[in-house]
Symmetry: C2
Subunit: 150 residues, 2 copies
DNA sequence: TTACATTAAATGTAAATACACAAATTTGCT
DNA sequence: AGCAAATTTGTGTATTTACATTTAATGTAA
């Protein structure tokens, strides 16, 4: 049953059709959980993801174009997204010395603290219906699905 | 490598973290493909999904509230989404006889024709990097991830 | 150096979305 | 019946998104 039950559909045309629907449904399930956790902290899921990209490179700066590239859901406008984070003082934006077209973005201490706080929320525990091995395996199958498993 | 390569991230905190990122990334990969296929036909992914819900019940009507329930990404406003489909004459909207608060929505012949046309595009072939068995297995693991595998 | 293409970021805009709320109808309770 | 609560859809509004365009800086080649 599972999805069939959740979305009250009884049949799919093929296992591939069911998989696509399931993928969207599950993604949404995860995003909902995350969004709900982030809301009290005043940031959106996309902003959260940007902050994590910046933390990954800290203390090195990341250019707006790099952020766009690395975003999971490539959004049309990293510029305005960074605006919001600057306004919240979660990141600093400075002109890149070596290329004045570019903009260096760095996460602030306040931003790092926020992430730290969110880390401890351990929302990923909700995924512990899977064993660690299963998580690895599922991830690998997603890679294979996209044809980038080599 | 795979996602690590795609989003230029070299490490994840845990298999669960990697899984969540992979899920979002893969979902986006799929949505992009679909959106690109639908665009020439003048409908969005959400509209497409609504049409398929309606086809699943055809020729029975579906209420707006049912659509909201069954949507993969529950949107805040099925009402306006149906508006768009009515404007394109892909669905009919009539007042429900037994409950005048409710609205019955039915897909039109034009809508059915459009879906038929899209069916033949077989975009799901792009997922054929997986065998049918693997698609079944992957789908089951997604069910388990959400804890609705019983 | 000048001309022209390319790149990076920002902006204008129309459309879509989230969220709160309003209006109409039905349901349930006494 | 009468009235409060719940249900269903629609609307108002601020935010976000997609997409095209603009501005500024850099690269390249004559």
């Amino acid at each position: 049953m599972s999805i069939e039950k959740d979305i009250k559909q009884t049949s799919f045309r093929s296992p591939f059709h069911r998989l696509v629907v399931n993928l969207m449904y599950t993604n949404n399930w995860v995003c909902d959980h995350q969004t709900r956790l982030l809301k009290p902290h005043g940031i959106t899921l996309q902003q959260y993801n940007v902050l994590r990209i910046l933390r990954g490179q800290y203390p090195n700066p990341v250019k707006v174009s790099d952020i766009t590239e690395r975003m999971l859901d490539k959004m049309s406008n990293a510029s305005r997204l960074v605006d919001k984070l600057v306004a919240k003082k979660l990141v600093d934006r400075t002109e890149c010395p070596s290329d004045r077209r570019a903009v260096d973005v760095v996460i602030t201490q306040k931003g790092l603290n926020l992430l730290k706080q969110l880390d401890t929320q351990q929302w990923e525990d909700r995924l512990k219906t899977l064993s660690e091995d299963e998580a690895v395996q599922l991830s690998q199958m997603l890679d294979k699905l996209r044809g980038s498993d080599e």
